[in-house]
Symmetry: D3
Subunit: 278 residues, 6 copies
């Protein structure tokens, strides 16, 4: 994750500080500095430390985070993850926003790790989707990767996915693929969502790169795999949970994607404690 994600954090800080942090500014002098500890209150995977720190840096350019943890580490209840050092005003005013990011990202990474672990010894790769929280995709797709998943397309501009409605609008898979091949960037693959073996066959006839088997039962998936062989990459999608991953992990497929990685993440419990004024 790099690029210009800082803009989202600034916007989040303004959401929380529309004029000023009255409670803090009333009682803490501008120059007072200190430290506070980041404490883990629940086992999980820590994720989002750069975002957490950037939040404070935007309020205090001299802020520092002293820690040996890094994104992806397994952290345990009671563990001190690190120490935040800077102006007390920045530490207090940025606390909620910084934790809101860190807790959600860690929750998604933790959740993803559990799912990814089922596929640990499999050739199949777990993928995320675009079912992310608005204005948080850069953070949530980073978190799924830290959790062990791969990234499916980022957005509508960087990947081609033809769904039933696209196919209906074009008239057939054949026509839709021909049109998109002219229109798209040549560095992109073409993926088509299929609901039947007939659709799969039409994809193969048109040189589609990735075939998504959408909401199929295991038997149909296996039939599709036989049809496809090595002629296209295969993605399975629809109602994925750990049990289903277990069933599918030895199938001759390439990817299993799951929206649940990002839409059902529960925030990991973290807090700032032990403030010391220097």
């Amino acid at each position: 994750m790099n690029g210009f994600y800082k803009d989202y954090i600034i916007s989040a800080l303004k959401e929380d500080i529309s004029s000023e942090d009255l409670s803090t500014n009333a009682v803490v002098a501008k120059e007072t500095a200190g430290t506070v500890d980041l404490i883990c209150k629940e086992d999980g995977i820590i994720c989002g430390l750069d975002v957490f720190n950037e939040t404070f840096l935007l309020l205090d350019p001299d802020y520092e985070f002293i820690s040996e943890c890094k994104d992806g580490d397994f952290v345990t209840k009671g563990q001190k993850i690190g120490t935040c050092k800077g102006k007390i005003r920045a530490l207090l005013s940025g606390e909620r926003t910084a934790l809101n990011y860190l807790q959600r990202m860690s929750g998604i990474a933790t959740n993803t790790r559990k799912m990814a672990d089922v596929l640990k010894d499999s050739h199949v790769r777990l993928l995320d989707t675009r079912k992310t929280t608005p204005n948080n995709r850069i953070f949530e797709k980073y978190a799924t990767r830290i959790g062990g998943a791969g990234n499916h397309r980022y957005n509508l501009s960087d990947g081609i996915m033809l769904k039933d409605n696209h196919i209906d609008a074009a008239g057939s898979i054949t026509k839709a693929v021909a049109q998109v091949r002219q229109y798209m960037r040549v560095v992109q693959k073409i993926e088509v969502e299929c609901e039947s073996l007939e659709m799969v066959q039409e994809c193969l006839d048109n040189g589609v790169d990735i075939i998504m088997l959408d909401n199929m039962d295991n038997k149909t998936i296996m039939d599709a795999c036989k049809l496809i062989g090595k002629k296209a990459l295969i993605e399975v999608s629809g109602n994925i949970n750990s049990a289903r991953l277990e069933e599918l992990k030895d199938y001759p497929i390439d990817f299993i994607s799951s929206g649940a990685l990002t839409y059902s993440g529960v925030a990991l419990d973290l807090s700032l404690k032990n403030m010391v004024i220097l």
Copy 2:
């Protein structure tokens, strides 16, 4: 909810369409119009229809939503919530962003309704917190209200809350309250987070408006209530779930606040189906 929330939706659309929706633009002509149905795939409370519709309106000013549902309605699996009518390009390009908002807001409203129902016959009011997803607070605090909760402060600028760190920085509750009273806007109440009966007593001595009993056991809460009587409003906070609400619902307290309303919401399953080209 009103004001300028549209800016967030524009930002979310740009997140999903950084240059253009290649799949859609390749296969659908600019002027083609049609309809698609919004289908409920899980029981719950629907919430966020204005946001859902605004997303499409930003892409097609002639878009219309035909529906008899409104925010707060209980919807059931298989129910058609309404029909979206507009340019096919807008319907396809806006689908994911519109659903990402609607599913999350409905998930939070559904979750909140379950908790709020425990307090249905109680004088105690359930409140949300600032533990919301960055850049989604306006939507999430609206959803908790639709679910039946009240709104605690929106952000650091519209409410005073003195926590342990503020008190430490000022030297005592007495000093912190005196300083904040000068600094704050006179239309705001002063709330102080208390961890002991001694702190509660010092709040009472200083005319604090709301006393938050933070992470106290039931016995200490009751002792604090006796001390406070009608001299301040009482908020209970910390590890709130349905069982705890049941225990506390007849206590002489005013509010119970729960971060879980917004940080553990699972998205309600909704989808757009049955596209018809007109």
Copy 3:
């Protein structure tokens, strides 16, 4: 004052420098540095030094202000308030914007101090209003506080004020208060603008927190005070000037608010003189 007020200054600098400062760039080399003195040309209260300095800092990160003055100090005609040190281009290009802020903020602080001094020995507190210059509220409300007033609500989102039109729309004070109590954040007080003793009584019956006596004569104000006693805070508003403050200063009221603090402020005369090139 903190938070993100810098955005307003950037916008103001762009207002004054739409492409570039032609006069300055033509005659001063990019790296030339120097100093210039901030001189007071009229007695008053200085206010806005952080904003003044931030303006130059946005143009030259190495800019420094050498001064022993601080906001709220009384300054006198001819006094050197401080010395600005930095790139000459920044000093010349930022001069007008920096002074436009500093002069207006100092004018408001000076004006407010005169009014606040009338209430020096009174228990009554002078308050500002929302009658501020568009896009300058953060600066003007800071200036009234430096001048000795308290801040009334910052905006429509952080305080509740029910006026005649709200009451008409709801049907009665009773109904309006009931509706707003559900809708508002629980950390806010409810204020109602009253034009008669009947309205005052209805407010008391509904537990209103602050009663504003709007444009009442002194006798009616006193009658209202008797009715209210300690049951609500009392704010007096309408045509407030120093003479009126003198009359009201011993009344059993809590606040007197005056729009004139911010809409009639005359800029304090200040200028930059004695440029020295280093």
Copy 4:
């Protein structure tokens, strides 16, 4: 005034509505429409009606203003200037921002008209300056023109003005003028601020277009005028008030500029009254 001034109004509305207008939204339904009258409470020149109306239009695209007044009209105490018709929510939420613009702009126009009237039968033209309120220049310079003044340069990018510091940096008027002539856009005039007859002479030797006589007494001004003749335009500046305008109105000068037009304007008293719900 045209161009993109709407951005400033949007920013001002967000300043006043950081999340939402709680008082209004609690008691007025979204679709309720009505009217309210714009009433003049003080004699003056009305100015800023487009800005006033744009504020409401941004909140309600169907808003209308029914009036026969136009900017520049003299309005009198008690006069109904027009009727605003639209959604009640828009009328209530936009009221303060709309009036904050209209009252300030009308105050400046009124103030300017008084000064301009002194020069009514004179060949000398009254000019404004850049001493405007940050982020309000487009509105304030429009108001001075409606009041009868001319506009001096808008900002540092559209006019050349060499002051003492520029001249010092360049070494002499001769050098500064030579440098700026290369650097500037050829459609701009060159103006130089002069504090002595020697400076005036050097300007003439270099073909300066406008000579500003800064803070000179009347005798020196007259001497300078004789020196200059028709060889340059002449602007007089410094401590201008009505009495001074009277003294100077028959001098052979072209312009008199006054910062007081914009920095000492008192808002004209206007209000919205007689709300009717339709």
Copy 5:
């Protein structure tokens, strides 16, 4: 082209109208409407009519363009392309910005068409690059497509291209491809820039999707083609002009990319003439 390109046009209009269009506003009343013809002064391909029209629509929502031309049409010297109808102020103030877009986009389309025509009967496809004018990529990549080229990747986020520096940083093609395969989105192809047959072989060993033959002579290109066969797509790049296209058009390659399509485009000569006031 769709999505949010309007933001760039707004920014371009503000670049040309920093406060207001003084010449126009001085002499044309706000409500005056009329028409003006868009005249072609040079043979070429017209491209950018939507952008041209959007520019005027942003200044006048009732603006209309009456024309039978569409993007991609061949237009000839003297031809009336269409008639613009709207407020005269919008037509005059938007003219330069609208033409600046239309002339450049048409220039690029015209230029591209000449190159693409060389490949008319070839299986090889002409591609553009990222060598576009800053903040004009969306327009320029649209123009190359209208001219008959295909689009290479849009930016650094939607396509993978490993150049020599990436390979050096990773240590080898093998390592770089392995790393990028984990990091990238699975819907993207991997392209590697090769300068030798050894590099080509290493690409083949690692399953690279597209091999770019960079600045190779024709003989080496042919050797590379033989090595690659159908195992990867082949792109040729470096010093491409019409003569070179002619030489390469029967080679067993897939794409030829040329930066010159966008960096050497001369604007097509177009103008607005025959204004009629209605």
Copy 6:
């Protein structure tokens, strides 16, 4: 060039990095630093080094450019212009944007220098126009000045130019000039575009400052010059190329303006080579 041009570069970087630079981030560690050389591949005038460097600085605040070149220097094929030193990620991710600016600006400066050299010993000054690439004017007008031209007006707000349509709208030159004189800022000159000697005469009668002779043949230009004498500045415009400059260079005119300076510029060939990892 100064002011706030950085905003355009940020926007250009976001255009190229909508989420992140996948190729680079996959293979280069965040902290890896190094150098790369800026190499000239074609003779010309270098222009835009500050913009080039600012692009990298926005990605790496510790970036440095080691060079003895400055804008306006003549550079030759094969020359090393300088060395860029910083984080490898910044060097790779910013390369294309930085070069897109530098190559275009240098192309314009090179092109302008050739034209300006024709007028080297002439009293006539070459001027640019507003025919610049949208959102690149600040850069392109800087480049024409570095190339040896003068700047005509920057935009519609900083210069007055009355064209045929303005004159038609007003009724006559006389009326248009009278109206604009009231409306414009007094520091601006009035320029009128003339197509006949009658128009020239009417301009003279109205004290117009600059007369533009638009698309006239040499004989008519000379007649116009005689008519005008020293009573106004004279600008010649329309189909200007080097041959025409040669013909006109001894005419008694002041300026010759040419849109071709900015709309036909071919990018100068430059590249980054010899990356070294430190």
